[in-house]
Structures are given as structure tokens and as C-alpha cells.
Symmetry: C2
Subunit: 347 residues, 2 copies
């Protein structure tokens, strides 16, 4: 995966895949949400930002675009991928709604989160409804590969939930010593929490485009590596990203005590800065001075370099997956561009 | 459906269907819960009451038994029905775990509810995991009708969630006037909340037993009417049931201000007792004297008789569904007996 300095054309290809997916997916998605009836459907429409006046922010739409491109890569059409694209948007949003309750996050896409606006019971129930609707969207399509895709969705959602549980569990672990979070544990968690759903988007789209299981597995790997590349990059941005571009507070992840890859890599590097960082976290990082010191120690211990290296390694794996699949040059370029808009976001 | 005074033999048949289903289902169910990993799997095992010492109360197992009997009724084996029986147990328990958060219920099966023991985040996540595992259990079976069954499961779960939302919404409505809950609304809610999952158990079991869609539809109707008969009976027991046998406080549903069928029927009967009852509820029913007065007014206005009549009508529909299907006499007797143990429970 290369990020050319003049990425205008590639970027437009990715944008166009997102745009094409959105135009195909949104009417079907709206229909699914409408099936939840006036009360729950209204809460669903609130979450998706579909207001009667046409305003409101929706998600980036990377996942449905990935499903559409995967279908096209294997010789199918964008329309073939729609049930998988709709399903992945439904489960992604179900996860967001439940995660906002769990993480006590008040805001989502610049608006009050569902639980904040409509209460926890409504947020639990609308999440459950979107979850089940995802299986309905796939299985109701009547596509001969819908059942195989739905089984992959069930497996992916198990991973997502288990990954979320592991991520929460990390926050209660000590910073140093035998019980501290190890790099391999972080990688499993990130693959499950972030990679599995991108893997489903790609493999599900490929299956509905007519791929067999072996080709779908290749798209699954592509999605996983894309998810891991994204997570590694997001972890770097969570410490050193420009708040004006990321929309997150400076040193945000350090302030929240998140066990992200740069931090775990720095703590386990076995260099003097590792020990100083561990001692600092154990005392508690509160002031802006301490936050900056922690960020500097993570960098000094090689945590930033390690995470950036991992992001590059996963992107190379994405490249290698794409190279192993014969596909039209335009589709290939659109994949590169989509990856760029996912990884390069906020930079 | 008849309830013979000497129901010993029939009761044993139903018991044996429950027992057979439990023996087939439990190992598969345990395997599904184990797939959630040590942390989430442990919470799942807590909910199901599977303790290392072998103690703990599990559910009644009516739904898996219904799936098994439906498969046998159409010429399949009990083993054929297992993926549907496992799926229905998984989603039923997912609903219980989430409902206990929503309803703020501290106890489930005599133990602290999952959210009370492990916290709301863990309870949300383990519910989500069981939900997705249900689709995995069905679709992973490789049964040629698994996809059709899973689509019915998705539709049923939408109904369950919408029914739950409607039931919650009823509690905020006025007792009398234009905005009061109508009998037809109650019936839709009860069919969705209680009937849809029993409908899936029966239709899913039939499909895996080899039935076509038309026969599965007949089992779907059977399950719906069984669910409605159960709900009407449960509503009567919720006011007039013997606390020693129901395990619920006397006049429990009246105390909680639940919009149950006897109450709605009494309020909308248009007799003098209806008006007195409406005025009493609007003022608020608090003391034991007022609770007894409310129960008497519900009965005087014909609410109890109406609900009992509805239960009988739905049981007659169950009978008519069963009569329309050719099946071994023993299976038919086991269905009657299962219905009896569902409807006749706590009496």
C-alpha cells in the first residue's frame, strides 16, 4: 500500500466507492430500520442521523464500501453486495449504541448518544433490534451464499464482543509485572474488536459477488489486516494526533489510561524508559506535564516506532492479499484508496 | 386441548419431551457458551446456573421441547431439531439477561441477575454474545433448512424486541380515555413478546425435521397461540394466583401497575365497575385494601372472565393446529402435555 503525495485521483476512487455503496445501501438500511415500528424505528433513525430535515451526520461508510469493492473484485456487481453491506452497517451501529452505554460515552457523531437521549433501556433494545435485523437483511436476500455469509457474520460478532470484553478487562490490569497486558494479547483483542467486522465486510461482499469459501477467506485476511493497520494508526493518533484533525483531546488515550499498542510496546521494551514509564503510570498520570512526559517516554522506549511499524506491516499484508487476487485495475486502485481513507483519516 | 383430572400419564409425556430435549441440547449449549472464552463464558455459565458443583437452577426448557416435538411430528428425529432448540434457548436467555437490566430486576431463578452480579456492561455484552451465537448454532449446523429457520429467528427476534418496547410504552399511557391501551394493542404486544419465540421454536423444529414452509407456518401459528394462551393465563395468575404456587407476591401485577389483559378488558368494558376501576387507578393503588378493591372491580367488570376466555380460545386454536397435522398419537399426546405444563404451571 503506497500513499502517493498526490493522491487526488486515488482518493476520488475510494470516495466514489463509499458514495456508490451509500447510495445503494441507505434505502435498504432505512427500510430495515422502519420495520422496527414507530417507536424503536424513530430511535434508530435518530442514531443514524436521518432527520426529517435531511441534516445529521452519519458514519464514514468504509465497511459497506469494502463489501461493494470485494463483490466487484470477484466479478460480481455492487448491487450483489448490498445485503452484506447493509448487514455490516447494522451490526456496526448496534455495537456503537451498546458500546456508548458500556463506555459511558455521552456523544456520538456530535450528537447525544442514544442512551443519553432516549435512556439505557431504549438503547439496549434498539441495539438488539439492529443486531437481529442484520441477519434478517442477509438471510432475507435469498442469495445462494447468504447463509454462508450470515454464518461468518455470527462468528465475526462473537469476536467483536469478546474483543470488547478483553479491551475492558485490560483497564483493570496492572501496568507492569507478570499481570500486565502483553503485545500478543493486545493483537488478539484488536484483531477481534476491529479486524473481525472489516473481515466480514470484505468476505461477505466477496461471497455475495460469487466467490467461493477459499477466495472469501483471502478477503477475510485482507479485512483483518486492514482493521489492525487502522487500530495501530489510531493508537498512534490517540497520543500524538493533532486534536484539530482527530477531533480528540491531546494525549487523550494517555489521559484515559488506555492500554494501546505504543504504550504496551514501550512498557515491555525492557529499556530504561520502560521502567520510568511503568513507575509513572503506576503513580498515576494527571497533569499536562506528566502526560507530555509519558508521551515522550513511550516514544523514547520505541513504542511509537513499533506501532507505526506494525501499521506498515499490516498494510503490506493487505497489499499482498490484494496482489494474490486477480481484479480489474480500477477496483484495485479503489481498494488502495479506501485503505488510505481509513488509515490516513485525520492525518 | 383438554386437561384431564388424571393427567399423570400425559404429564409424564411432556416431562419426557422436556427431559429428552434437555439431554440433547445442554451439551451443545454448553459448547456454544464455552466458545465465548473464559471471561464472558464464565458469566454465561453463571446465568445458565451451570456451576462446577453441579447445582443451580436452569430454565423450564419448554421451548427446546417444543422444537423437538415439532421435528418428530413431521417425521424427523429429536436430534434433527437440536440446532433450533439450542438457538431458541440462546435467544430466550439473551432476552432474559437484557430484560433484567431494563426492568431493574435483581433476581433471576433465585440468584442475583447477571447485571446485579457482574455489572451492566458485562450483562449487555453476554446477552449480545448469546444472541449472535444463536444464529451461529443454527447456520453452523449445515442443515439444508438452517437458513430458512435462521430467517424466521431474525423475524421472531424483531417481534420480541418490538413487543418489549410496546410493553414498556404501555406503562406511560393513561389508564382511561383516548390514549389508554386497547385490547387489540395488548394482543399484538403479547403475540410479539411471548408468542413469536414459541412460534420460532415450533416452526424451526419442524423445518429441521424436514417440513416445508407451509407446514412450518402451521407450527408457527401453534406456537403463537400457545404463547398467547400462556400470557392470558399468566396475567390471571398475576392478580389472583396463589403466591405460594406462583412465587409472585399477591396482586403483584396490580401493585406494579401493569397493563395486563384482565385490567385492560375491565377498563374498556363500559360497565359501572370500569369507571370506578379507572378512577381508582388514576388516583393510584397503594394499600392492600385498594389492591383488593381493584382486583374485585377487575373481576366485576368481567376482566378475569374475558382473559380466561381468551386463554381457552387460544388453546382451542392450538388444538385446531395440532388436529390439522398428521402425527403419531404419542407425539400428539406429548404436545398436549407440554401445553398443559406451560399453561397449567403454578396452578
Amino acid at each position: 500500500m503506497t500513499f502517493p503525495a498526490t493522491a487526488g485521483a486515488d482518493h476520488d476512487l475510494g470516495h466514489s466507492a463509499v458514495q456508490r455503496a451509500r447510495e445503494l445501501v441507505e434505502p435498504v438500511l432505512r427500510d430495515r430500520v422502519d420495520r422496527l415500528g414507530p417507536s424503536l424505528g424513530g430511535i434508530g433513525r435518530y442514531h443514524f442521523g436521518w432527520r426529517s430535515d435531511g441534516t445529521g451526520a452519519t458514519g464514514k461508510g468504509i465497511r459497506p464500501a469494502l463489501a461493494v469493492l470485494a463483490a466487484e473484485a470477484v466479478g460480481g456487481t455492487a448491487r450483489d453486495a448490498v445485503p452484506a453491506a447493509v448487514a455490516v452497517e447494522l451490526v456496526h451501529n448496534f455495537s456503537l449504541i451498546h458500546d456508548d452505554i458500556i463506555d459511558n460515552d455521552d456523544l456520538r457523531r456530535g450528537r447525544p448518544a442514544v442512551w443519553k437521549e432516549h435512556g439505557v433501556p431504549a438503547a439496549i433494545l434498539v441495539g438488539d433490534a439492529l443486531h437481529t435485523e442484520a441477519f434478517g437483511a442477509l438471510l432475507g436476500s435469498g442469495h445462494p451464499n447468504a447463509s454462508a455469509a450470515a454464518l461468518r457474520l455470527a462468528t465475526a460478532m462473537r469476536e467483536v464482543v469478546v474483543g470488547q470484553v478483553d479491551d475492558i478487562g485490560f483497564t483493570t490490569r496492572p501496568w507492569t509485572g507478570e499481570q500486565a497486558v502483553r503485545i500478543a494479547e493486545y493483537q488478539s483483542m484488536a484483531e477481534a474488536k476491529t479486524g473481525a467486522l472489516l473481515a466480514f465486510a470484505a468476505a461477505g461482499g466477496a461471497l455475495l459477488g460469487g466467490a467461493d469459501a477459499a477466495v472469501a477467506d483471502c478477503f477475510d485476511r485482507l479485512g483483518r489486516h486492514l482493521g489492525l493497520a487502522f487500530q495501530c494508526t489510531d493508537d498512534v493518533l490517540g497520543i500524538w494526533g493533532d486534536p484539530a484533525r482527530t477531533g480528540k483531546p491531546v494525549f487523550g488515550d494517555l489521559r484515559e489510561g488506555k492500554r494501546t499498542l505504543p504504550v504496551i510496546a514501550a512498557l515491555t521494551a525492557g529499556v530504561p524508559a520502560s521502567e520510568r514509564l511503568g513507575a509513572l503510570f503506576e503513580r498515576g498520570v494527571r497533569s499536562d506535564f506528566e502526560l507530555r512526559l509519558a508521551a515522550d517516554l513511550v516514544e523514547e522506549a520505541g513504542g511509537r516506532e513499533f506501532a507505526e511499524g506494525e501499521a506498515a506491516r499490516h498494510l503490506a499484508e493487505v497489499d499482498s492479499c490484494l496482489a494474490s487476487l486477480a481484479m480489474p485495475a480500477e477496483t484495485r486502485a479503489a481498494f488502495d484508496s479506501l485503505a488510505q481513507s481509513l488509515i490516513g483519516r485525520s492525518r
